[in-house]
């Protein structure tokens, strides 16, 4: 697929992306397309780099090779001001919520509006209340972020992400930590944002069923490669072992539950002692951040 063609119906195109963290190759020459007005899901085991991919698309991390085109512009070639202008139209919902802890829920949602628009305060107030109402937290407007549960914080973050009426939103694990009721409401909200505002959505999620229910297209990533892609039906019927394992949640299969390591018995039997323990290898942060979820 060439750039010209893809940028017509795609809002975001990732071409031949390669990205490494130290020695570890996170992405190895992957290409993805995110169509305008559609919901595209990215799925894959924990630690494959889904969050990393969103940060690359948002221009916070730089790829080693390849490029990312958002709305016809190469994100990583933009000047700082141009990138910031583009970002105003890209909403991002962080995995952790990333709310500013020194202001109330209301002020958090109002923050991008106050920074980027010259709307009068009364208008901002109505907009904020509308967004909070959409995520079911209008009553929580005076709480501080530390008084929210994880799931509530993420919904406030969603309200903040849609405050500027962006052309696209990247959701990093929007369903994690939601009870079945708010989960259902969120799924509906994401779907309706998509249809009513014609928003392009990128959803990173582990929740196979919820995601399959609303996504128009799904990419399954594993170990730096796209191991499967297609509509939810196609994915469900995929013959790929990788995809089947992921969709069915089998612990055993080509995708490993374990972070790459040497043989278990080897590790247990031999202790290792570096010569200079203060000279920390550059990827030891990686080891600390490993998560099993």
């Amino acid at each position: 697929m060439d750039i010209f063609n893809s940028s017509q119906d795609s809002l975001v195109s990732v071409h031949n992306l390669t990205f490494s963290r130290g020695e570890k190759k996170i992405f190895d020459d992957i290409s993805l397309e995110f169509e305008r007005g559609k919901i595209t899901a990215i799925m894959g085991p924990s630690g494959t780099g889904k969050t990393t991919l969103l940060k690359i698309i948002g221009g916070q991390l730089f790829p080693n090779r390849g490029n990312v085109i958002v709305n016809g512009r190469n994100v990583h070639n933009l000047k700082r001001d141009e990138l910031y202008t583009l970002r105003r139209r890209m909403g991002m919902l962080f995995q952790s919520g990333a709310l500013l802890t020194d202001m109330t829920v209301f002020d958090n949602v109002a923050y991008p509006l106050r920074e980027h628009s010259h709307l009068p305060e009364s208008m901002i107030r109505s907009l904020v209340l509308m967004k909070l109402e959409a995520v079911g937290l209008r009553g929580a407007r005076d709480l501080m972020p530390n008084e929210l549960s994880g799931g509530m914080a993420r919904r406030v973050a969603l309200a903040r992400a849609i405050a500027l009426d962006p052309m696209m939103i990247m959701y990093d694990e929007p369903f994690t930590g939601q009870d079945p009721i708010s989960m259902g409401a969120l799924v509906l909200l994401i779907k309706s944002l998509n249809t009513t505002l014609n928003l392009t959505s990128i959803i990173v999620s582990h929740d196979v069923h919820e995601t399959a229910a609303i996504a128009d297209y799904i990419y399954v990533l594993s170990e730096g490669k796209v191991v499967g892609q297609g509509t939810p039906q196609e994915i469900q019927q995929s013959s790929s072992e990788w995809v089947q394992q992921f969709m069915n949640g089998a612990a055993d299969g080509p995708v490993h539950f374990h972070y790459p390591a040497k043989e278990y018995m080897d590790d247990l039997l031999h202790s290792e002692k570096p010569l200079f323990s203060r000279h920390r290898p550059s990827n030891d942060r990686t080891a600390k951040r490993r998560r099993y979820s």
Partner: protein, 260 residues
């Protein structure tokens, strides 16, 4: 042996790249100051938490340092029968040295460490990334106001320290030890040099404020975004600030007072 040199080399390279990052960071902070000036509320809030909240520790410490200076000065000066000059001694020590240096050390411990921890935690909880993705520059909105607040507060805090210290010296000197009250003040007024003592003291505290705020904010911004990383960065702020303050104090003193 080779490993040792390699270790040394890697260490040196690391310090230099860190210095490079710190310089680049400083340039971004300084270019962000313009946007702080159009939003005075951001600055006022930081002046409160960086400056005003340091008042108490500065006042109390200044009082005690001044009182100790009064005691020590009295015992030495009275041996030469020169108790009347106690005021000059106390004031000169405070204005030239102890005011700027001790208040900067206290400032690094009280406000600098807090700044590092705050910025580091904001980084660890992705608040800074979050702002970037909202197209809001965290340097302009978060870092520059704090820098400006630290830079502006330091000379004022140093002046407060010296002023309270002089009063402390007077309390001990003339209140307890019987130095003539009028002599304490008039000697001070006659012998303290505006240019040589006061201005130089202010220059020192301006330099210390600049460096301490820079170190504190950079360490926070450069911290490894974990609980441990932030705690180490906080320690580094206090240690590096102390070294920089004392080292710079020597250099500045040599430059300012070297020829008289």
């Amino acid at each position: 042996m080779m490993d040792f040199f390699r270790y040394l080399g890697a260490g040196t390279r690391k310090s230099f790249t860190k210095l490079g990052r710190a310089s680049y960071f400083l340039i971004s902070i300084l270019t962000g100051i313009g946007s702080v000036l159009v939003r005075p509320r951001l600055l006022l809030k930081q002046l409160h938490s960086v400056g005003v909240l340091s008042f108490l520790i500065i006042t109390i410490s200044g009082l005690f340092v001044g009182m100790v200076l009064g005691l020590q000065g009295f015992y030495i000066l009275s041996r030469f029968g020169a108790e009347e000059t106690l005021g000059v001694m106390v004031a000169a020590s405070l204005v030239r040295e102890l005011g700027p240096v001790v208040s900067a050390l206290l400032f690094a411990g009280r406000a600098g460490s807090a700044l590092t921890a705050e910025i580091g935690l904001m980084k660890a909880t992705e608040q800074l990334s979050g702002m970037e993705m909202m197209a809001i520059d965290p340097i302009k909105r978060i870092v520059s106001p704090r820098f400006l607040a630290g830079f502006l507060s330091m000379p004022l805090l140093a002046a407060l320290f010296s002023a309270v210290g002089i009063i402390g010296g007077q309390i001990v000197g003339s209140g307890l030890l019987g130095v003539d009250d009028g002599a304490y003040w008039s000697q001070m007024r006659a012998n303290l040099d505006f240019q040589g003592d006061i201005i130089n003291g202010i220059i020192k505290s301006v330099v210390f404020g600049f460096v301490t705020s820079w170190i504190a904010l950079f360490e926070g911004y450069d911290a490894i975004p974990t609980a441990e990383g932030v705690s180490r960065a906080t320690t580094r702020t206090v240690v590096n600030s102390a070294f920089s303050i004392l080292g710079l104090d020597f250099i500045l003193t040599a430059l300012m007072f070297g020829d008289n």
